[in-house]
């Protein structure tokens, strides 16, 4: 598939975008300005959560710890390092792949008006397929996170155990909540696609959801490095 071109907006006059938004005085879709402003504010939210985690890092008097073993001096019980890098690496690959599926879903919607001849073009041009793949990958990531949280609790780390537990569960829990909202958002797009079919006029609607989804992905890129890979 060659480079995609979104549908040309209608000539100025009524001030409406093809999918019901409004053009601002700059000629930009007001909903895209809104989502970028929202994403900017989300940057500051996650920066505050990440800095809280980093400030409290290494300040827990009692374990379990993320990367070091710990022996409880009272009971003599030994706690192994809590982080499971292979599992988290797998979930990271899944989330990155979901972003790839999301851009293909957006490209498919933008190119709805382009005739598909070959099987490859039909696969690449199926917005339903790529939205489903993105949703399934998002749910897989959430499944990995549920497994991780459950195993941490079984290994003795809860939100109330120590500073590490509090800051870790708060940060990754907020991120998981954002992924959950993203999956629900994508399911609403899928419902629309199955009911009436997404058209090229819906490209901005899908683009806004895609921007949110990619932002959730870039936040995880930072979390994965700062929390899991740097000891």
């Amino acid at each position: 598939m060659t480079a995609t071109t979104a549908p040309t907006p209608p000539a100025a006059g009524d001030g409406h975008t093809p999918s019901g938004g409004h053009y601002t005085s700059l000629g930009l879709d007001n909903r895209k300005i809104a989502i970028w402003t929202f994403i900017g504010s989300e940057c500051m939210l996650f920066a505050s959560l990440i800095s809280t985690y980093l400030i409290y890092k290494g300040r827990s008097p009692e374990g379990p710890y993320p990367h070091e073993a710990w022996t409880n001096p009272t009971t003599g019980e030994v706690f192994k390092p809590i982080m499971n890098i292979p599992i988290t690496s797998a979930s990271t690959f899944v989330l990155l792949a979901s972003s790839f599926a999301m851009v293909l879903a957006l490209a498919a919607v933008q190119n709805k008006h382009v005739p598909k001849v070959t099987t490859g073009e039909k696969i690449l041009g199926s917005s339903k397929l790529w939205l489903w793949v993105t949703c399934l990958m998002g749910m897989t990531f959430l499944g990995f996170q549920a497994y991780e949280f459950t195993s941490f609790v079984h290994e003795g780390l809860t939100m109330r155990t120590n500073l590490f537990g509090s800051s870790f569960f708060t940060l990754t829990g907020f991120h998981g909540a954002h992924v959950t909202v993203g999956v629900l958002w994508l399911f609403t797009l899928l419902a629309i696609d199955h009911k009436r079919g997404l058209t090229a006029a819906d490209a901005t609607t899908v683009d806004i959801a895609a921007l949110y989804w990619h932002f959730v992905d870039v936040v995880w890129i930072a979390i994965f490095t700062l929390l899991y890979l740097i000891k």
Partner: protein
């Protein structure tokens, strides 16, 4: 419809996005960088050296940049969107680094305070 006469002509806020071939290349690059990051974690010589943390931060930053520029189309979109994202991002980064200098052991680790 007088009020609409002052609405500017639609700009190219969603004009030209890259295609399948670009998205595929970006996906491969992201996968390779992530694989290198995870591998570095398991290589003691790398993980114990002073270059480990800077290399991890650089690789993470490159991944962040690539996703924002190509998957979020910031490279192709209107510059206002870039400002709306990078402005708060810079403020967030300055806040993060400031808090780390104030409350963490970063100052000591960097040798700025004994």
């Amino acid at each position: 419809m007088a009020e609409h006469s002052q609405v500017a002509a639609p700009a190219h806020d969603e004009a030209h996005h890259p295609g399948w071939s670009t998205y595929w290349k970006v996906a491969v690059i992201l996968t390779v960088i992530t694989a290198v990051e995870v591998s570095a974690y398991y290589i003691p010589a790398w993980e114990n050296s002073w270059v480990y943390v800077p290399s991890m931060l650089i690789m993470s930053g490159v991944k962040f940049y690539i996703v924002v520029m190509y998957y979020m189309h910031l490279k192709y979109d209107h510059k206002l969107f870039r400002s709306l994202f990078t402005g708060p991002l810079v403020v967030a980064m300055i806040t993060l680094v400031g808090l780390l200098f104030l409350f963490s052991k970063l100052v000591v680790r960097l040798g700025l305070l004994s």
